[in-house]
Structures are given as structure tokens and as C-alpha cells.
């Protein structure tokens, strides 16, 4: 999402343009501009330089338990570590501090076996007590319970040195990911912390690959290796350097000058702007595993409570053009399950087949609206039987140029089926408030970004996150809710059989396709760029061992331990 903030400040586009204009003799002979050589020379090849957060100056904070984004990257997954990591590209949990998980027959008890021999960076052993202690902290301090594990947990108990048992209040298998992704803190250090909610933990003691704070200044900090790291020979990188860049523009500029080795920012027209500057070393990989950009429809309002209207609007949208014009061709049109490539393994071909309403078909769209009783009136605009014309506003955030361009295309498209839609821009806060309170006709938005389709569909169709119009709802902004969906969701919660889960997820997709509660547009790319000038073994198309982007915690840990100096 942060890439849009840059578009607000607009300069990279102009910078990119300028870079392109400069087809001077310099370009062919010397791929990197002169600034690069000086910048590169000062950085030791043993330190990996990366940009994940956008800040002008650093505040020292390595508390992995407080609001994500307030502690320095990679505190949650890099300094500290989770129990297991879900690998989106492989669709499976990778053992980390825990080697095995086991559900009881009734799915109300989860037993985790911890990795023996793991040490904290001060040399003390890591045990099941630390895990139980961490979860106990979350229970005592509601402000730390971001994954909301205590909404479904009843108790956490260290059975022996390497076994932890979680007791659930109700069968809730999808909760696994929130339990195992929780960063674990050492009991012997944290039991004396007076208020863990405001603790800044300036010198962390942790299990992760990078735990030593070597340098901490307002515009740069550097993390060194954990002397006791449990993976032998890893990490191969000596230290991580984080220069402060206040925005995407500045980070992108550092990418161009060769100062950055790894970044996760949005770069417009990347082939020309970045790759062509140094074809051998500059690489990117944008797999479509982010959340799905979606046109939300307020289903509490007429005429959007009619599924035919929702489908007709969707059929009139030219997604190919949106992808090409608004997204630089970085993605593809969404199919009618709305799932991104992160959920490829779950996709139900039957549902994809049944969902014709994400394919451009004006004749069918017009026929659907005719059938629903919306006759064309003055100026070709359709009107409801009670004469209210189909005239709507589509809400967008000011300056998020990809969304704005997409909506401009949609508005053009909808004219062809006699629906007059106009672009309405708001600043971020008022836009988001309208979306959450259900005070809109149509609005751009995103979907949930979670390991299984369970949360994805729960937040689009379930009654659990449904709130009345006017009340803030964290999810389910379109306010469509179905009891059939609830039944499927409940069944999914209580089964840990993969085949059964897949069957249920397939049924959810069919239900979604049938009801079109929202109008999916395109799956979001996950942004990642790297340079092989100094380091290798980044994930890419040919070696997709993990997501490339550093923005996807805790999956960034895979890359942190695998990257090697050249």
C-alpha cells in the first residue's frame, strides 16, 4: 500500500522520465552514475543494505510485541522469531522454533514440539516456558494481543522443556497461523519489564539471525549476527544496514545508484527505470500473492442489494485495460473467486468456470439490467421502476493514482450499460471512515491477506464481521452476509483434515461466485527488487523458495537466512 504514498508525492514519475531523457553517451558505457561508485565503495560487501520502512530518522525500538510497524524492521521476524512460518508460495507451514504441530481429535487442543538446542543471543536456552510466558503476556496486556489469540484460546501450558500445549475455547483450526506467527520473547529478560506495552527494548535478547545492534544513529542503523544462532552457518550475511529513506522516491533513487541491495517498493515501469540500468545485476520479482484490489459495493443499498446489478456492473468492466493502463501490466484480471495466486492451491476450477461475471460481456450485462427492471431513460441512463436514475459515486483515495486511473476506466465502462458513475476522491482518513461505516455507493478497497481462504471469505460474506451501517466495521465493508457462508466457515474452523478444508473452501468459492458480494478487479503484486552486485541467492521466478518482498513478515526471515555474499 505504501507505494501509493509515493505517488502522492509524485516525483519518481518525473524522475523516471528525466532518467530516461538522459540518453547521453554515459549511459551505455557506464551503467551506474558516478554517485554509485562512491556510495558503493563506502559500504562493506559483508553488510546487506535494505529498505523496508519509510522513515526520515530512526527511533530506537525493538519491542516485537507492540503494534506492528512501530518497532524497527525486522524486529518481529529477524531479531525475534515465530514458532512456524507460513510460506505463501509453497502453501505450507515451515517449522522454525517449533518443529511439529499436532491437533487433538476434537480440534480443541494444539500441541507444539519445540526445536531442541535453540539458544537466546545471551547464551541462555530457549524453552517451552518462554513460549507460555509470551502468550501469558498477551493475555495480561490486551494492548499486545494483536493477533487476538485470546479470543479463542483458553490456556497455554509448558508441558516439558520442549512441549507446549494450547487449549482452545472452541474448535478453531484457522487460529493456528496466529499462534505460530507470534514472535517469542525470553522470560528471563521480560519478566522484569514493568510495562511491556511501552517498553522500547533497546538492546534485544532474541533467537533470530540478527540480534546485535551495532550502530544506531538517527539516519542509519546496523544489526549484526546472533552469535548463538541455531541454524549452523547461517546467516551468511555479516550485518544488515538500514539507511533512513522517507519515501519510495528516495528508496528508488538509492536502488538506481546501487546503494541498496534489497527493497520492497513500488517502481513504475520497472524494466525501463531500474532493470535497463544494469541488466546483469538489477532484478525484480512481483508475484501476484498480495491482496486483491476490489470494487466494494454497498449491498445494503438499492439497487446493489440485487445480485443481478452487481454482476452486470462487474461484466461491464474492462479489466484488461485496467491492468494495462493503471497497473503497468504488473498483474492480471481477477477471476470470479477473487483469490490471488497466494491461494492457487485452494482454487476451485468449478467455481472459476461458473463465474462468468468477471469476463467483459456488455450484451449480457445489459440483458441482466433489463431483466432486473432498470429501463433506459433520458440520455441513455437507466432508472429504477421508481424513476431514480442509476447514478453513483465511486470513492477513491486522493493521489492513489493507480486506483484513480482504474476508476476512470470503470466510469467509462459503466456508461455503456447505462449506469452513470463518477469518480469521487477523498483524503485517506475520510475515505476509510466512509468505507468502514458503509457510507458509500461504490468504493475501491482491498481484501484480507491471510494464509487460507477462510479469513478471506469470512471478511467478505460472514456475519461475524458484519456491523450495521453507520458503525465502524473493520472488515466486510460491503456488508453482505450469508448464513450459508457461516455454516461453511464454522465447518472449516473445526476440521484439520486438508482434504476436507479444501472441499469447504471450494464450496465457499461457489457461494461467492453465486452472490458476487464484491467486484474483484485484480490480484495485488508483492513488490520486491534486488541487486546481485554484492549478494546472491535472493528468491526469484526460477528459485521461488519464498516471497522476495521484505514487507511480508514473517516470511522475510526465509530470505534473511538464505542471502549470501557474492
Amino acid at each position: 500500500m505504501s507505494h501509493r504514498l509515493l505517488l502522492m508525492c509524485l516525483s519518481l514519475l518525473s524522475l523516471g522520465g528525466l532518467v530516461h531523457c538522459k540518453k547521453s553517451p554515459q549511459e551505455g558505457a557506464q551503467p551506474a552514475p558516478p554517485a554509485a561508485s562512491t556510495a558503493a565503495a563506502t559500504v562493506k560487501a559483508t553488510a546487506l543494505t535494505l529498505a523496508q520502512e519509510q522513515q526520515a530518522s530512526w527511533i530506537r525500538n525493538f519491542n516485537p510485541l507492540i503494534a506492528p510497524g512501530t518497532a524497527r524492521f525486522p524486529t518481529r521476524a529477524g531479531v525475534y522469531e515465530p514458532l512456524m512460518i507460513f510460506n505463501t508460495l509453497k502453501g505450507e507451514f515451515v517449522p522454525w522454533l517449533a518443529v511439529k504441530h499436532e491437533w487433538s481429535e476434537d480440534s480443541k487442543k494444539l500441541t507444539l514440539s519445540l526445536r531442541p538446542g535453540v539458544k537466546w543471543s545471551d547464551g541462555q536456552p530457549f524453552t517451552a516456558k518462554d513460549v507460555a510466558f509470551t502468550f501469558e503476556l498477551l493475555k495480561q496486556h490486551k494492548a499486545l494481543d494483536f493477533p487476538s489469540v485470546w479470543a479463542f484460546l483458553e490456556g497455554v501450558q509448558a508441558k516439558d522443556e520442549t512441549t507446549v500445549e494450547f487449549t482452545l475455547a472452541r474448535p478453531y483450526v484457522p487460529g493456528l497461523v496466529y499462534i505460530v506467527h507470534q514472535p517469542i520473547v525470553p522470560e528471563h529478560k521480560w519478566k522484569d519489564v514493568k510495562d511491556p506495552v511501552t517498553f522500547t527494548n533497546e538492546t534485544p535478547v532474541a533467537t533470530g539471525p540478527f540480534t546485535e545492534v551495532k550502530v544506531f544513529q538517527n539516519q542509519i542503523f546496523e544489526l549484526g549476527r546472533n552469535p548463538h544462532y541455531w541454524q549452523p552457518g547461517k546467516p551468511a550475511v555479516q550485518s544488515l544496514r538500514f539507511p533512513a529513506y522517507p519515501g519510495n522516491d528516495q528508496a528508488n533513487l538509492a536502488l538506481l545508484t546501487g546503494e541498496l541491495d534489497w527493497a520492497g517498493s513500488f517502481v513504475p515501469d520497472i524494466e525501463r527505470v531500474f532493470v535497463s540500468k544494469d541488466k546483469e545485476n538489477n532484478h525484480y520479482w512481483f508475484p501476484l500473492v498480495g491482496n486483491t484490489t476490489t470494487l466494494y459495493v454497498n449491498t445494503t443499498k438499492k439497487p446493489f442489494n440485487d445480485v443481478r446489478v452487481r454482476k452486470a456492473i462487474s461484466m461491464a468492466i474492462d479489466r484488461d485495460q485496467i491492468v494495462k493502463v493503471a497497473m503497468y501490466g504488473y498483474t492480471r484480471p481477477s477471476d470470479s473467486t477473487a483469490l490471488s495466486d497466494a491461494h492457487n492451491a485452494w482454487r476451485n476450477p468449478q467455481a472459476v468456470e461458473a463465474g462468468d461475471w468477471t469476463r467483459l460481456d456488455l450484451a449480457k450485462a445489459n440483458a441482466l439490467l433489463d431483466e432486473a427492471g432498470y429501463k433506459r431513460g433520458e440520455g441513455g441512463i437507466r432508472a429504477a421502476p421508481d424513476k431514480t436514475p442509476l447514478r453513483f459515486e465511486i470513492n477513491v483515495v486522493t493521489g492513489w493514482s493507480d486506483w484513480v486511473r482504474a476508476v476512470q476506466i470503470i466510469a467509462q465502462n459503466l456508461k455503456q450499460i447505462g449506469v452513470e458513475a463518477s469518480l469521487k476522491t477523498y483524503d485517506f482518513s475520510p475515505w476509510f471512515e466512509r468505507l468502514q461505516k458503509g457510507e458509500f455507493d461504490l468504493s475501491m478497497g482491498w481484501t484480507s491477506d491471510e494464509p487460507t481462504p477462510y479469513h478471506f471469505y469470512r471478511d467478505l460474506m460472514g456475519t461475524e464481521t458484519l456491523r450495521p451501517v453507520g458503525e465502524v466495521s473493520a472488515r466486510n465493508w460491503g456488508r453482505f452476509a450469508s448464513e450459508d457462508a457461516d455454516a461453511l466457515l464454522r465447518a472449516f474452523e473445526s476440521t484439520n483434515d486438508p482434504a476436507e478444508q479444501k472441499k469447504l473452501a471450494g464450496q465457499m468459492q461457489l457461494l461467492f461466485v453465486q452472490n458476487a458480494p464484491v467486484i474483484p478487479l485484480f490480484p495485488g503484486p508483492s513488490w520486491g527488487e534486488y541487486s546481485t552486485r554484492r549478494f546472491t541467492n535472493f528468491p526469484n521466478k526460477d528459485n521461488p523458495y519464498a516471497k522476495l518482498t521484505p514487507n511480508s513478515s514473517p516470511e522475510n526471515l526465509f530470505v534473511l537466512v538464505e542471502v549470501k555474499p557474492k
Binding site: M1, L5, S14, L15, L18, P33, P34, A35, T42, A56, S57, I59, N61, N63, I66, A67, P68, G69, T70, K142, A143, L144, D145, F146, P147, S148, A151, Y178, V197, T198, F199, Q217, N218, Q219, I220, R241, P243, A244, Y245, P246, G247, D249, Q250, L253, A254, N291, F428, S429, P430, F432, E433, Q436, W446, T447, S448, D449, E450, S473, A474, R475
Partner: protein
């Protein structure tokens, strides 16, 4: 002295008014910080996390007037609260990371621009019709019409990126630790050149023009003719007779300019990744971080009021009339 005391009372009232506005304006914005932070994670946080955020940030539903009294009381104790965007750091600490750099950048830029612009104005008026007088004003006014950050981007691209003559970002070299060494100071100066130039170029024209027109008026005065008749040196007449008297309007402008430059330098800072207040303010607005916003506005307000006070004192020294009354 009475003149100064009266002014101090005015400053106290101005400070109170701006503190109050400071409190009110952020609270008129729609939305709430917890939702904004939740939204920043675009679907990666559980819906229930909003509640955790609300608890963590300690939101109150107190009536506005009570919040106001708490705000004033804390302010008098020097407690600006805890930042939300940089939770759980204290606002004073967050501002502390950048304030020095912002003051250095905008202070250096304003002073250079003032001294250079005023001198150019004096010389231009003295040699009226000369090349300096006919070429510089239109050029500088033209450059002054560009926003600071745009000039900053042009400088960054041409001198920094293409020619590589100056560093592209930050306030000092990343490989140095802040210290009172020659190497560090040199690095700071080197990093200051481009951002300060952007501001100087944009503001130079104003100083020059106002000085020039004030000079032209003063040069027609009888005491200049008298000074000439007395056979004083041209340099002495130019600086001690004409410039000193023509300087007053520019000195008044100096206090005001600091306010404009402080707010204008924010964008320049962002272009050069300068670790000042600029980005902090944007972060504060983006996250609806009231305490931080208030803190930053407070420092800007105090800086402007302080500069004006300084100007008042300077006035007493420059203009004998203010002393006699």
C-alpha cells in the same frame, strides 16, 4: 524597555492563541488513529486488532474542554505526550531527533538568503541601471516563483544524481558517527549545500527587491545629499547612511520569513531524506498522531515567535526612535 515589555505581553497572547488552535485543529479531522494504523496494514491484521490498538494508545472519550485542560497542564510541565506513529516514544524524543537538523537547515538558509539578498539589493540600488540592477531582479523573481521542493528535485537530479558532485541524501555521511570532528563538520556542510541552495534560490529575490526599493527611497533623502556634501567615502554612505536606514523593513520580514521557511523546508527535507521535522509532520498527519502534530506545530510556533522577539530586540538597536519612547 517599555517597548520590549509591551511586546512580550503580545507574544504571550499570540502563544496562547496558537496553542489553542494547535489543540483544536487536529481534533477536527475525520477518522481515528487506530483505524488509520489498522488500514496501513491493508488486510494483514485481524479485525480485532483495532481494539488492541485502541487500548494501547489509551484513547479517551473525555469531553473536549477536559482534554484541553489536561493538554495545557501537561504542556506547562513540558510533557507533550506519547507519539502514536512512533509508539511508545515520547513526542519530545521524536521531535528531538529532527529539530536540530531542521533548525540548522532552515536557519542557515534564511541567514544566507537574507544577507546575500540584502547585500545584492543595496548594491543594485546604489548602481541603479547597472547590469546587476537590470538582470538579477527578474531572474530571481522568476526562480522564486518555483516551490522549494521542485527546485530541490532539480538540484538533486542535476548536481547530485547526474554530476555526482553532492550527496543525494541525509545530513551527514552514513559511515560517520556524529562527533565534533573536522571530518564530521565537513560532511555536514557538504550535505547542507543542495537543500540550503534550494531554499536560498527560491527566497533570494524577495529580499533583494524589498531592500532595493527601500534603498531607492532612502537615497533621495536630504541626509544622503548632506553626507555626500561632507565628502564622506562612498562605502560609508552606502552602508552606514543608506543601508542601515533602509534595512528596517527587511528586518521585520526576517521574523516572518523564518516561519515560511520552516514550513517550506519540510518538503525540501523530504526530497533530500534530511532527518528533520518534515517527514515527522507528514507521518503525524497520516497517522492522525495528535500529540506529535501538536508538538511539531508548537516548535514551529515557538521558533517563529522567538525569531520575531529577536527581531524586536534588533529593532531597538537599529532604530533609535524605539529607544526614546
Amino acid at each position: 524597555m517599555r517597548h520590549l515589555l509591551r511586546n512580550l505581553a503580545v507574544y504571550a497572547v499570540a502563544a496562547w492563541a496558537s496553542l489553542t488552535l494547535n489543540f483544536l485543529i487536529p481534533r477536527l479531522m475525520p477518522g481515528d488513529p487506530a483505524s488509520i494504523m489498522f488500514a496501513r496494514f491493508a488486510g494483514q491484521l485481524q479485525p480485532e486488532a483495532i481494539d488492541a490498538l485502541r487500548v494501547a494508545f489509551g484513547f479517551t472519550n473525555e469531553p473536549l474542554h477536559q482534554q484541553y485542560f489536561t493538554y495545557v497542564r501537561h504542556l506547562l510541565q513540558g510533557d507533550l505526550g506519547i507519539s502514536i506513529a512512533y509508539f511508545p516514544a515520547k513526542v519530545t524524543d521524536v521531535i528531538g531527533t529532527g529539530l536540530g537538523w531542521t533548525l540548522l537547515l532552515s536557519g542557515a538558509a534564511v541567514i544566507i538568503s537574507f544577507v546575500l539578498g540584502t547585500t545584492l539589493g543595496v548594491v543594485a540600488a546604489w548602481r541603479r541601471g547597472g547590469w546587476l540592477d537590470s538582470v538579477m531582479p527578474p531572474v530571481l523573481v522568476f526562480l522564486g516563483a518555483f516551490p522549494y521542493f521542485w527546485l530541490a528535485m532539480v538540484l538533486l537530479y542535476t548536481l547530485g544524481f547526474v554530476l555526482g558532485a553532492f550527496p543525494l541524501r541525509h545530513a551527514y555521511s552514513d559511515s560517520l558517527a556524529p562527533a565534533l570532528s573536522g571530518e564530521f563538520i565537513l560532511s555536514v556542510i557538504q550535505h547542507l549545500v543542495l537543500p540550503a541552495s534550494a531554499i536560498v534560490i527560491a527566497t533570494l529575490g524577495g529580499w533583494m527587491l524589498s531592500m532595493r526599493s527601500a534603498m531607492v527611497g532612502v537615497l533621495a533623502e536630504d541626509y544622503i545629499t548632506l553626507a555626500n556634501a561632507k565628502g564622506l567615502s562612498q562605502k560609508r554612505i552606502m552602508f552606514h547612511y543608506a543601508a542601515r536606514n533602509a534595512l528596517l523593513p527587511n528586518v521585520t520580514g526576517f521574523g516572518m520569513a523564518l516561519g515560511f521557511v520552516l514550513s517550506g523546508s519540510l518538503l525540501t527535507e523530504i526530497v533530500f531524506s534530511y532527518p528533520g521535522q518534515g517527514y515527522l509532520l507528514i507521518q503525524a498527519v497520516r497517522n492522525q498522531d495528535y500529540p506529535l502534530m501538536q508538538g511539531i506545530f508548537l516548535t514551529i510556533t515557538l521558533a517563529v515567535l522567538g525569531a520575531n522577539l529577536l527581531v524586536d530586540i534588533l529593532y531597538v538597536w537599529l532604530d533609535p526612535r524605539t529607544r526614546t519612547r
